[in-house]
Point group: C2
Chain length 334, copies 2
C-alpha cells in the first residue's frame, strides 16, 4: 500500500494510527474536533513518516486556495523588499503567496494569467502599468489590489503613497537649506510621474519660487538622469539642487556631475525617490523618499483579506504618507 519510494500520503499516516484520512486531515490543519489523544498520535505519526501535505491536492479539494497572486518586476529592488513583507503579512492571515515575475520576455498579461491558473483568490499587482480599464476587467475575475500607483475612479483597491506630498517634502527640505534654484528631472508620462511633477510644482509655488520651476524630461533610468544633468551642464546655468523622479534617475545625475567635477552636495544637491537599496550604498548616500514597504505590504494584504473573508465590496484607497530620508547628497545652498 505505502509504496516505499514515494511520498507518504494522508492515507499512509491514517493507516499508521488506525484512523480515517478525515481525522488526520482535521488534526493536521488544526481544525477543532479531534481529541487530544488523537491529535498527539497523528502528529507523531506524521512526523515519523515525514509527511508533507501535497499543496496541489489541497488546493484542488478545498474550494478556497488561500493563495494570493503577486505580480512583481523581478528587477526592482523595491519590489523585492515589498515581497518580503508581503510574505510575512500573508502568513499572519493564513494565506500563501504565488509569485509571478514579470520580465522583459514575460509581460503583465502572461504573468497575471499564470497567477489565475494557480487559482489565486486575489491579485496583488506591484506597480502595474496596464491601463485602468484592463485592470478593471481583471478585477471582475478576482479582487485586485494595485500597489504604488493611483488609479482614478476604479472599483479596485489601491495602496500607494502620496507621491506629490513626498516630492513636496524634498523641496521643503531643500528650501530649508537655502536653495531657491531647484530643478526637477521628471519620469515621463505615467501616473506616478505626473503626481511627482505636480508635487514639485506645487511646492515651488508654495515657497514663492514659481519663477525657478525648471522641469527636464526624463524617465526611470540612470541614463535619463545623466542626459538631463549633461543638459544642465552644457547650458551653464546649473541649479543649486536637482530633484529626480526616482533613485535610478538621481544616480544618473550624480554620475554625470561627478564626471564633470561638480561637487555634491558642495555645489549641487541631489535627491531621489524610493529609498532603493542603491541609495543606501555609502558610495551613493542619496537623500530620498521612503515608501515604507512594510506598511504598503501590510495594507495590500489586509485589503485582499477584507475582500475575501469579510465580504467588503466598496473599493478602498489607502494613501500612506511618504517619509523623507536625509542622507549625504543634499546640503546647504552655496
Amino acid at each position: 500500500m505505502a509504496d516505499a519510494g514515494s511520498r507518504p500520503r494522508l492515507e499512509d499516516v491514517a493507516a499508521r494510527v488506525g484512523l480515517s484520512t478525515a481525522s488526520v486531515s482535521l488534526v493536521l490543519r488544526g481544525v477543532p474536533g479531534p481529541s487530544e489523544r488523537t491529535r498527539q498520535r497523528v502528529l507523531k505519526a506524521a512526523a515519523d513518516l515525514g509527511y508533507q501535505p501535497d499543496r496541489t491536492a489541497s488546493l484542488l479539494a478545498s474550494r478556497r486556495s488561500r493563495l494570493l497572486g503577486v505580480m512583481v518586476d523581478v528587477h526592482s529592488p523595491f519590489h523585492a523588499e515589498l515581497v518580503e513583507h508581503l510574505h510575512t503579512a500573508a502568513e499572519e492571515f493564513g494565506y500563501d503567496l504565488v509569485l509571478s515575475t514579470q520580465t522583459r520576455t514575460r509581460d503583465e498579461h502572461t504573468a497575471v494569467e499564470t497567477l489565475l491558473a494557480f487559482r489565486s483568490e486575489a491579485l496583488i499587482l506591484l506597480g502595474p502599468v496596464a491601463p485602468a480599464d484592463t485592470l478593471a476587467a481583471l478585477h471582475r475575475k478576482a479582487p485586485v489590489v494595485a500597489v504604488g500607483r493611483r488609479i482614478p475612479g476604479a472599483q479596485l483597491d489601491v495602496v500607494r503613497t502620496a507621491d506629490d506630498d513626498g516630492v513636496g517634502q524634498v523641496v521643503d527640505h531643500l528650501v530649508a537649506l537655502g536653495h531657491r534654484s531647484i530643478a526637477h528631472v521628471d519620469g515621463g508620462k505615467g501616473v506616478i510621474a505626473t503626481d511627482r511633477r505636480r508635487g514639485y510644482r506645487d511646492a515651488m509655488r508654495r515657497h514663492g519660487l514659481a519663477q525657478h520651476v525648471r522641469i527636464l524630461s526624463g524617465d526611470n533610468t540612470e541614463r535619463s538622469g545623466e542626459r538631463a544633468a549633461r543638459h544642465l551642464l552644457d547650458e551653464g546655468e546649473l541649479p543649486t539642487a536637482v530633484v529626480a523622479f526616482n533613485d535610478q534617475c538621481a544616480i544618473g545625475v550624480l554620475a554625470a556631475l561627478a564626471r564633470a567635477g561638480v561637487a555634491v552636495p558642495g555645489r549641487v544637491s541631489v535627491a531621489g525617490y524610493d529609498d532603493d537599496a542603491l541609495s543606501r550604498l555609502s558610495l551613493v548616500d542619496l537623500t530620498t523618499v521612503s515608501q515604507s514597504a512594510e506598511d504598503q505590504a501590510r495594507h495590500a494584504v489586509r485589503a485582499a483579506v477584507e475582500r475575501l473573508d469579510e465580504g467588503r465590496e466598496e473599493p478602498r484607497e489607502v494613501v500612506l504618507a511618504p517619509r523623507l530620508v536625509i542622507r549625504g547628497s543634499t546640503g546647504p545652498a552655496v
Copy 2:
C-alpha cells in the same frame, strides 16, 4: 450545469461540442489522436468560452508536474537575472518554474519545502549555503542542481563558473596595467570565497609577485569593503590595486577611498566580481567578472531535464569560463 459565475471547466467545453472531456483534453494538450475536424471545433469552443485549464487539477492528475522548483535569494540582483533566463530556458523544454524566495525570515529549508509541496520535479538552487550532506539528502528526494557553488564529491549536479580562474583574469589584467602591489579583500569562509582566494594567490605567484600577496578579511557586504579599505588607509601602505570578493564588497572599498580623497583609478584601481547591476551604474563603473547568467541558467535547466526525461544518473559538473569585464575603476599603475 455551466454556472454562469464560475470559470469554465473542461466539461463545459466538452458539452458545448458534444464530446467527452477526454477528447477535449487530448486536443488542448496537442496530443495526436483526435481528428482535424474535432480539433478545430474544440479549439473554437474553448476560445469562445475563454477556457483556461486549471493548473492545480492538471498537476494533480498527471503524474508529471513539469515544474521546476527554483530557490532564489530575493535580494540578489544576480539571481534576478538568472531567474529571467531560467524562465525562457524552461519554457523551451516545456517546463514551468515555481519560485520560492528565501528571505531573512524564510530560510533555505522552508523555501525548499515549499517547492516540494508544489511537486517540483527537480530543484534548482541558486547559491545554496546548506552543507553538502544536507543537499545530498535533498537530492535523494528530487534531482538537485546547485548553481554557482562548488560541492566536492557530490552526487548532484553543479553548474558554476571557475571562480579561481575569474580572479586570475582580474589579476592578469592588473599586472598588464603595471600593478605589482595588489591586495585582496576576501569573502570569509564559504566555498566560493576559498576558490577566489586561491585564484588570487595562484595568479600572484604565477606573476612572481608572491611577496606582494596581501589578504584582508571581509565578506559579501559593502561594510566589509569599507572596513578593509580603511584598514589599508590607516596603515599608510596603500596598494596600487584592490581585488574584492564581490561587487558589493568592492563598492564598499570605493566608498571608503572616495571619502578619503583617493583617486580611482588614478591612485588605486579597484575590481569586483559578479557583474552586478550595481557595477554597471555609471557612477560606480566597476571592473568586474561576469558569470554569464544566461549560460548558467541554460545549463541548469538542461541538467534537470536530462535527469527527468533522459534518465541520466551520474552527476555532472558544468564549469563555465568567467569573463572579465573591464570598466573604469581600473587603470595604469602609478
